[in-house]
Subunit: 405 residues, 2 copies
């Protein structure tokens, strides 16, 4: 992707969380992953402000780091985020929560020793990996001290951090937005499977050098996640660890309006969501399901999600098969207002079903390319929504049938 | 399977719809399928009674034969059922409905010519196959006359009929129940994919020589489908054509109690549901998800279905991987009352998660066999339910990525 002009600025993918002023980051191999790859990341906010907001998984089974970070975020203030791959620290009981707490305490101590007085209550913790195993704290805790030294040495650790949070991701995901008025937003994300209804399974850290209150950040972040990560549905599975954080330090000296902040955060999150879709487990097709003409936006979203989650639709797309009847069957079971005789469907702009009946040439529509745009027109109202998904491929089955073993 | 003693009688799989007295059936190759296989089936009730009940798909997009048969069933009376494979006649517009109507008229004429005065309004029509194409009526209509002649020649066409309704099924599915009091129930079913929430994608015809009113049949059929086909969920997809019919002719002279009828119909449907699971597209594992301790049966069913539909759980089972964290993640996103710290999970009787935390040895549980029983204990109440499903395999992807083309 080349740079994109958007929302009064420019969007790039070559930089991440350290693109804004006043942030440092690092990524190291602490030995949490058995294969020796990078597995520990740190994002550090140098100030002067420490405003922050977070959005977390809606799964009732929440990992220890989610429970911890939710509690920390009630203050609306964050100095640092420490993230590990190689283990989700979910379903690990009280011992797992103590491990998260100990990680935050260790980082607070290391940062304080480095000269930045920090409390554990100013530190968010994120984990990703297999559910159910305790983290190797004998590796993790020394890694926390090491990564502070690493970060201290330079300002360019954003890309290392983006690498260190990867699990089955094949590429790191970063995006940065440079506003014409000299303030910036940067972000990194991970997530390749268990991507679903409310927040893809993923960790996202967004930084900005704009000045903003925690409440403004919360508004911008909820607006952005609702329209981007919440509408990315690879396999209908929703993780125990999903976390999206937004930090603002005011280092640019600029205080954008709420609308400007919303637009910038949305632009960065939207780009990351597209990157997550493109790198989803086993993906061979990038699929966008758009539903229009529903009686409300909520119903449009429900219908789009029903199609996006339908295994028969997804396997057909893997086979480049314009089997539009499966789209109708999926829409028909969605709990929405529907008149089957008004439904019109097109694939990549080619009508395949008009008013509930097959269109001439529908079986010959060419879906062999990597992108499939599905448009479902319900013809009832003004509600519109788009969900990003992927096909269901042999690669998905392969990757997910051999993940923990 | 050997004969099973159950509900005051005996269950066998060697007979189907012609097991009860007073039914004839046939299956022929009418040329609807391009490959020349059997594709047209007839079940004919010789009387003396013609009581009947039906349960149909909850999909809002209903195939023409579903709309027709629902209308016919309002009379509580059926003389015959004509079923075709090789085309669903769904999303085919007014022309498709006229094709269904013409099929019933043609059969009424052929049966009347054979000496049994019959009206089109006493005939149910079922279709299965690809959605969206019109049926080849130039083949189907002559087939209707031919199949009446075929049926006239003998009493043993039940197995041919069971073959003729197959699509991606690899084996015909039949079951019969012989009550000790000399009345009988017989049935056939098809369905291998698009098996989901409310009725698997399937056609089922159940016959009995017991005497019963349409209302009694309706009660027995709704009770049975609720507990069997409605709890079979292979891929979360719900068809446009699902139809389950129950016919009673009183030929045995026996009038069982409602309880006896309920038990017999349930036994036959339960056995057919097990057969459908075992022959589902791409199946390598037969999986039963049981949830206990929910606050209600509805919530237990919701939780069991959430696990049964989770692609990550299903791919793990394909890999014989005891990845119990995915079960917890799936339960955690179900819209039910849940205390994550009370959830206990076992695989084939081996505890893998106790009170929300991994059990020792959980990663070593052997799931290499063809049957996997998952027990999820929520510890909150008395609600219990079981859902049958399968793994998500390469075979499933292969079969469904190449179905229409």
């Amino acid at each position: 992707m080349t740079d994109t002009d958007i929302a009064g600025g420019k969007l790039v993918r070559t930089q991440g969380v350290t693109a804004p002023l006043g942030y440092r980051a690092a990524g190291i191999a602490a030995g949490i992953k058995a294969n020796g790859k990078l597995d520990l990341a740190l994002v550090f906010n140098e100030g002067p402000d420490y405003a922050a907001a977070g959005v977390f998984t809606r799964n009732k089974v929440k990992a220890a780091p989610v429970l911890w970070s939710q509690q920390v975020l009630t203050s609306g203030r964050l100095r640092a985020v420490i993230l590990n791959s190689g283990g989700a620290n979910a379903c690990t009981g009280p011992g797992g929560f103590q491990d998260t707490h100990a990680t935050a305490e260790e980082l607070a101590k290391a940062l304080s020793n480095w000269g930045t007085e920090t409390g554990a209550g100013e530190i968010a913790v994120c984990s990703t990996g297999l559910i159910g195993d305790r983290l190797p704290m004998d590796k993790l805790l020394p890694g926390v001290t090491e990564i502070v030294h690493e970060m201290a040495g330079g300002l360019s650790g954003g890309t290392d951090a983006a690498h260190a949070i990867m699990t089955t991701d094949t590429v790191p995901k970063q995006a940065a937005f440079h506003h014409a008025d000299k303030w910036n937003v940067g972000a990194m994300a991970k997530g390749a499977g268990m991507l679903a209804p409310s927040l893809a399974t993923m960790l996202v850290v967004v930084t900005t050098d704009a000045a903003a209150t925690p409440q403004q950040l919360d508004t911008a972040l909820r607006n952005a996640t609702r329209l981007t990560f919440d509408r990315l549905d690879v396999d209908g599975s929703c993780s125990t660890n999903d976390t999206v954080l937004l930090l603002a330090n005011g280092a640019s000296g600029v205080t954008p309006s709420q609308e400007e902040l919303d637009a910038a955060v949305l632009a960065v999150c939207d780009d990351l969501a597209a990157q997550l879709m493109a790198d989803a487990e086993g993906v061979t097709k990038r699929v966008e399901i758009t539903v229009t003409g529903a009686v409300s936006e909520d119903e449009a979203l429900t219908a789009a999600r029903a199609v996006a989650r339908d295994s028969l639709v997804k396997t057909a797309f893997f086979g480049s098969d314009p089997n539009w009847g499966r789209v109708l069957a999926a829409v028909g079971i969605a709990p929405i207002e529907l008149d089957p005789d008004r439904v019109t469907v097109s694939f990549n702009g080619n009508p395949v079903c008009v008013n509930g009946t097959g269109a001439p040439g529908a079986r010959e529509v060419d879906l062999s390319g990597p992108d499939i745009a599905v448009l479902v027109e319900l013809g009832l109202g003004e509600g519109t929504a788009t969900v990003r998904t992927t096909d269901l491929s042999h690669g998905y089955v392969e990757e997910n049938s051999a993940y923990s073993s």
